[in-house]
């Protein structure tokens, strides 16, 4: 119930706990003071001005908040910032090389792989991670055998990208864009 905790009683509500950390985001050291309850997604968006990662569900069910942590795709909405002081974080803002778009970014534009654009940063970071996983030979649920390296056909891309929801239904463009870069 709302208010099922007695907040007037003794020892009811503890004070917020803060921590001073030094994050590394897109190769840049970012000292921050965070509430231990803060997620990486909220730190990026509300404290560091990096609003590329999106909040679509805040519960790990949509993928819009996907970033890269030590090169692996991860959900920033389920990552407590206080746990992320010793990792390299890359967000969608860190994908391009100056003015030169990352090949996946260019392919997304070229293939009209988005409409509203809200899931796009997560799709892009997820695609970067998925391509790296495939390059390392990671199988997926649709990989026919577990011994041979996976061939990144359309079904493989669809399955590997299934953690990123797109309500606009831009999947044909997303799959085409990822496939184009995978080749």
């Amino acid at each position: 119930m709302n208010g099922e905790t007695d907040i007037t009683g003794a020892g009811g509500v503890p004070d917020p706990v803060t921590a001073d950390l030094r994050l590394s985001v897109n190769g840049v050291p970012r000292p921050v003071t965070v509430d231990t309850r803060e997620t990486l997604l909220d730190t990026l968006r509300e404290s560091l001005g990096l609003t590329g990662a999106k909040k679509g569900c805040d519960h790990g069910q949509c993928g819009a908040c996907t970033v890269l942590v030590d090169g692996r795709r991860a959900l920033s909405c389920l990552t407590l910032t206080v746990t992320a002081d010793d990792v390299e974080i890359v967000t969608v803002e860190g994908l391009a090389d100056g003015d030169a778009l990352h090949p996946l970014q260019a392919a997304f534009v070229e293939n009209d792989a988005f409409q509203c654009g809200y899931c796009t940063p997560g799709q892009l970071c997820s695609a970067v991670g998925a391509l790296a996983e495939a390059a390392e030979g990671w199988p997926s649920a649709v990989t026919p055998g577990l011994s041979a390296p996976p061939r990144l056909d359309e079904t493989e891309i669809r399955e590997r990208m299934s953690g990123n929801l797109c309500r606009c239904g831009a999947y044909p463009g997303i799959v085409a864009a990822v496939g184009q870069v995978a080749r």
Partner: protein
Amino acid sequence: MRPFTYERPADVRSAVAAAGRPDAVYLGGGTNLVDLMRLGVATPRTLVDVTRISSRAIEETGGGLLIGAGVRNGDLAADPLVRRAQPLLARAVLEGASGQIRNMATVAGNLLQRTRCPYFQDVTKPCNKRLPGSGCPARTGDHRNLAILGHSEHCVATHPSDMAVALAALDALVHVEGPDGARTVPMPGLHRLPGDEPDRDTVLAPGELITAVEVPHLPFAARSRYRKVRDRASFAFAVVSVAAALDVAGGVVRDCRIALGGVAHVPWRAEAAEAALRGAAATPEEFARAADAELARSSPLPGNAFKAPLLRNVLVRTLADLAEPAEPAGFAESEPVETP
């Protein structure tokens, strides 16, 4: 979220000590715990982050594989040893969640994840698992995705893990470190049925920390299958799932391992089906008999009665696939079949 202190102990011993405090919990990948904290379902005062001290190694032991508790699900399914020696485990892990979540979730955290019963996850509603004694609205409410086996009047929740279903089939051993020292808990056996204490998901005592999972070598599990049935084509929890391995010689089932997901408060080892199968002919009729033996123990609710025929079909099909050589590629067009 209630404010909490965050600790990163230097070793397992100090982690166990830290977790002995009231309202302290271990933090692994956070994919379920952080979710539940944000929902207000979990309100710890201390998080003991064990990701830096949990082993991320996968090693061959004499009798099987020793998998560190901190191994991420993504690494687990990609590991060459696992893929070669325990394909059922790799397959089950790959069927779970999404790529991102698999990269975060740990082996121990996956085992200890909590039910996705909608009432459990909504703190504005009663739930015996969350608030013992408050009631179980799922029995008369929506229980389409909930248990048909082993449930009690107090709880009809299901365990959501895919990985745990494979581990239950494979007789995995869960290594635990606790205030009173180390022990080993066999699977199935880590998770418990709800009975009149549905708030207790497992047999672990407060403060006990999973340090590793050992999966014994089972040569015939090279021929195994994890079949997951779900409403959405990917990134969805199982409606039901079957983990099965079959040892057939001369048309007779010498041995088998079967565990079921999405049907019970635990990853359900299908012991009745296994007993019916051992020594039986490897035929669809016997597979159906085995499925019926297991289903004889079930007590579906009105809203999930469909799970019984579903489970029967999937179990029979999975066993039949394992018993027979793989079907040729391609398909027969216009082959007459009966309406399902």
